[in-house]
């Protein structure tokens, strides 16, 4: 039976139920439960290797869960029902193709297509996934490039741009798919320090002016405070502390969080 888009409006945007992810003997996520509300902005912090990025990669289906269940808008995502009993089995590519479109991702290394112009990068998915007309897609792409301050770079090759500019193109490219959930995976970590601000400013704008659900992994605590409703502190595949951004950053209760925040400031 083909997967249908049956969104449950009351359900959280993202829900992890006892999700475990192992790479060989190494357990990255250990029975994790997590909920992200629709339109909520959540930032994941913690030492590297604590499983933050894996959460984003599981949501983007770049990795598959070892155990447990991921739901998006109340629908099983990592798994799909099969047969009369609706028994859940690991999702196949066709199931994922339907639900994955609601999610977009911006990567640490930008991952722009180097052989296409900036505009072609942004137009590619709307035309070939959403089935938009080329003219319509180009018009929207130009608007998005204006939004990220690169309206004059539409015809340039990505490799001619600075890291900060490339990352802003990547943001425009992700937004062109009109995602309901946007995943930001250490989007400023590969940038020279003086280029970080221009990328974060664009993202602050987006957070302010849209109701998109945001999941960020970042070491930029100022940015986390500005955009997040909630911050989750991770350590060794578990959430050790979570709370409203200001509260968690100002007065962390857990020793592990205090030590971590001390190390990144």
């Amino acid at each position: 039976m083909p997967t249908e888009d049956r969104k449950d409006p009351a359900a959280p945007a993202v829900r992890f139920e006892r999700v475990t992810k192992r790479f060989g003997d190494h357990t990255v996520l250990d029975g994790l439960d997590l909920e992200v509300g629709r339109g909520e902005r959540v930032t994941l912090i913690g030492p590297s290797g604590s499983g933050k990025t894996t959460i984003l990669r599981l949501l983007m289906t770049l990795e598959r869960v070892t155990d447990g269940l991921v739901l998006v808008d109340g629908q099983p995502y990592s798994h799909m029902p099969r047969g009369a009993g609706g028994k859940l089995v690991p999702a196949d590519e066709r199931h994922l193709a339907v639900l994955r479109r609601r999610i977009g991702m911006v990567f640490q290394q930008f991952n722009l297509f180097p052989h296409m112009s900036v505009l072609e990068n942004v137009v590619e998915a709307p035309v070939h996934v959403l089935g938009e007309g080329r003219e319509e897609a180009r018009r929207r792409a130009r608007d998005l490039l204006d939004l990220v301050g690169l309206g004059d770079k539409a015809e340039a090759r990505p490799t001619r741009l600075s890291g900060g500019q490339q990352q802003r193109v990547a943001i425009a490219r992700a937004l062109a798919m009109r995602p309901e959930i946007l995943l930001l995976d250490e989007v400023t970590s590969a940038l020279d320090p003086e280029l970080v601000a221009e990328v974060l400013d664009v993202l602050r704008d987006i957070a302010r002016n849209t109701d998109i659900t945001l999941l960020c992994v970042t070491h930029e605590m100022g940015f986390a405070r500005d955009v997040s409703d909630r911050i989750l502190m991770f350590d060794r595949g578990r959430i050790v502390e979570s709370g409203p951004a200001g509260e968690l950053l100002e007065s962390p209760t857990h020793a592990r969080t205090r030590a971590f925040l001390g190390s990144v400031r």
Binding site: A97, R100, I103, M105, N111, E124, R173, A174
Partner: protein, 211 residues
């Protein structure tokens, strides 16, 4: 030793053979370029029941001498004319090499490119056509050029199935006029004159792509 008169007399025959050599190389390389890509894609992205036998067949062809394959085809497929057969065997033989070249080009496309395609939900076909193959082919243009030169220099093998390419013509002229030195020297010079500029072009291309 060197008989200038004989060399001049040999020139038309050698050049005629050169025409045949070029006429064999160009379509054979076209076959190799297209079939090589198909072989690479089937092995990389095709269903297992197809990928495994294709891999086995490609390995078999790659591991046996072109000369033997020419003889075998000559005996087994008498229905085809020698030049057509020669072009096909040469093309298939090189396709198995080029499939490996394409494979390295595909492997050289960074993982982040595939991940970006997943994040954009691009359909599999589109990922290959619009993102992976354009980059993979660009990666392998220099080695493809080198294989073209190398194939060009292997066309004399076609003479064993009676294709009258350049070396065959040189040999014939040599035996009828007792002027092997002149005719073979001419053939060698023509090979050099054709191969060398091509290699220079390939190197230029390589340098340009490196930037």
């Amino acid at each position: 030793m060197w008989d200038g008169e004989a060399a001049r007399a040999a020139l038309p025959a050698v050049l005629e053979g050169f025409g045949v050599t070029v006429l064999a190389t160009v379509p054979a390389f076209a076959v190799a370029v297209v079939l090589g890509l198909v072989l690479a894609l089937v092995q990389r992205a095709g269903p297992r029941w197809l990928a495994l036998p294709v891999r086995a067949a490609a390995t078999f062809v790659r591991s046996t001498p072109l000369l033997v394959q020419l003889f075998a085809a000559w005996v087994l497929v008498p229905a085809l004319d020698a030049p057509v057969l020669g072009v096909l065997v040469l093309g298939v033989h090189y396709a198995t090499y080029l499939s490996e070249v394409y494979r390295t080009g595909i492997d050289a496309v960074p993982r982040g490119q595939w991940e970006a395609c997943t994040a954009l939900s691009l359909p599999r076909r589109r990922v290959w056509r619009a993102v992976v193959l354009p980059q993979a082919v660009r990666n392998v243009l220099p080695p493809l050029g080198n294989y073209a030169v190398s194939m060009f220099k292997e066309t004399p093998l076609l003479s064993v199935i009676t294709v009258h390419e350049m070396v065959h013509e040189a040999n014939t002229f040599g035996s009828t006029h007792f002027a092997y030195l002149e005719s073979f020297t001419l053939a060698a010079a023509v090979f050099l004159l054709a191969s060398w500029p091509t290699s220079v072009l390939v190197r230029r291309l390589e340098e340009r792509l490196a930037h």
